[in-house]
Symmetry: C2
Subunit: 242 residues, 2 copies
């Protein structure tokens, strides 16, 4: 893990850009803490630069609660090399959404390789981040591509709790993995998200094996998660990362 | 409204039993407040004596947040005269749940007359309660027979917000009313409530016409709403009754 740039944000949060191998990422740590703090991994749909305003807002909110936060660019997004197969799948998905063709095979082609590549990258980032002074765990995951969250919840024992955003496609083949998830989950669903398959999201929530799982459904469209859900996520992490 | 008994509870909450016509009820008010306080109507499935421990716990939590709380016995429950038709419908429902017979006609016979009779009683109670010194509104509703909550949300303009518990039967004919509801709603659903029709609850949530509606689904069975949902309800009311 090489740090490439750092800056102090207004509320004394330290923001550090890094690369891990070829993968860019950002780490935010609260200004003044005496003990090692828990870490929240911030998910996103890909494209750190574009997502930066939302990510930094969430990181500052996490820092205010006493957590470090970190994120990693996704394969094929932002400054990372494009994959021809993924670009094709993305184009096919756009077309299929317009024409009403079946999505399942396209979602498999788009999401499964992404999860296969990204999950070990996020685990390697965890290795590096948790070895830094001041970051102690436990680790939470918040948002991003939900299929990646499901995979990490199954394969990554350091993950203690996750806020998942049921707003992206999940291959049906991953439902078996969802049943293996046992960590506490807080699942956000935008009820009137027109680009999202609501029934698939409800089926996925049903499939999760966790004994503590909560679904919060709201109106407001794909990007309109109400502000009070930020607080609700904070309280979920306060219950499980302290 | 005639007060029949009063006692101070531990945390300085004043509990007063009353009757309104022939209908018994209980009013709880916070100990020391200078301004008139909002009022939360506490719903329940019927049987004030049996429900008292849970009701008083919720009333004390409401009082701690600065609200008065009140509840009213339901028709045919507790000390109120039984209705032969309702008793028959209740017996039919129990049998139908065991044998797997269709429920719709039985639910109509059980719930529709209850709603017809109870809604005006709760409105009359509101008239009386809001005329008391120290109780000012706005008014919230929390829990109870969800069909009664839907009816009150439509017919009672003084109701500003409602926490509804999607854990009892709703006649299909009331979905049209659900579409007319416009107040902010916070709907609790126990995902693994075996005696409850989950799909009906989701359909009902979908039908509500409110622009702000939130569904919180949890595990724990019919009576196992997690303790953190009490807090979540308090925060919902804080957003809408202040």
């Amino acid at each position: 893990m090489r740090f490439s740039a750092e800056q102090r944000l207004e509320d004394d949060v330290l923001e550090r850009e890094f690369t891990l191998g070829e993968v860019p990422g950002i780490l935010w740590t609260p200004g003044s803490v005496s003990e090692p703090v828990p870490l929240i991994l911030l998910g996103h749909p890909g494209g750190l630069r574009k997502m930066y305003p939302r990510l930094v807002a969430r990181a500052r909110s996490s820092a205010a609660e006493g957590y470090a936060a970190a994120t990693l660019e996704l394969p094929g997004s932002g400054d990372r090399p494009r994959s021809a197969d993924a670009e094709q799948a993305r184009a096919d998905l756009r077309r299929a959404l317009q024409t009403g063709e079946p999505l399942e095979e396209i979602v498999d082609r788009l999401i499964l390789p992404l999860v296969e590549q990204a999950a070990p990258e996020w685990q390697a980032a965890l290795d590096a981040l948790l070895s830094l002074p001041g970051i102690g765990g436990p680790v939470g995951l918040a948002g991003g591509v939900i299929a990646l969250g499901v995979r990490l919840a199954v394969v990554e024992p350091r993950l203690a709790a996750a806020v998942l955003f049921a707003g992206s496609f999940v291959p049906r083949s991953m439902f078996e993995e969802a049943r293996q998830v046992t960590i506490p989950l807080h699942v956000l669903l935008q009820w009137d998200d027109e680009g999202n398959d609501r029934q698939l999201a409800l089926d996925l929530f049903d499939a999760f094996g966790s004994k503590e799982k909560t679904l919060h459904a709201n109106l407001g469209g794909h990007t309109g998660v109400p502000p009070f859900e930020g607080e609700a996520g904070n309280r979920f992490f306060a219950r499980h990362l302290r």
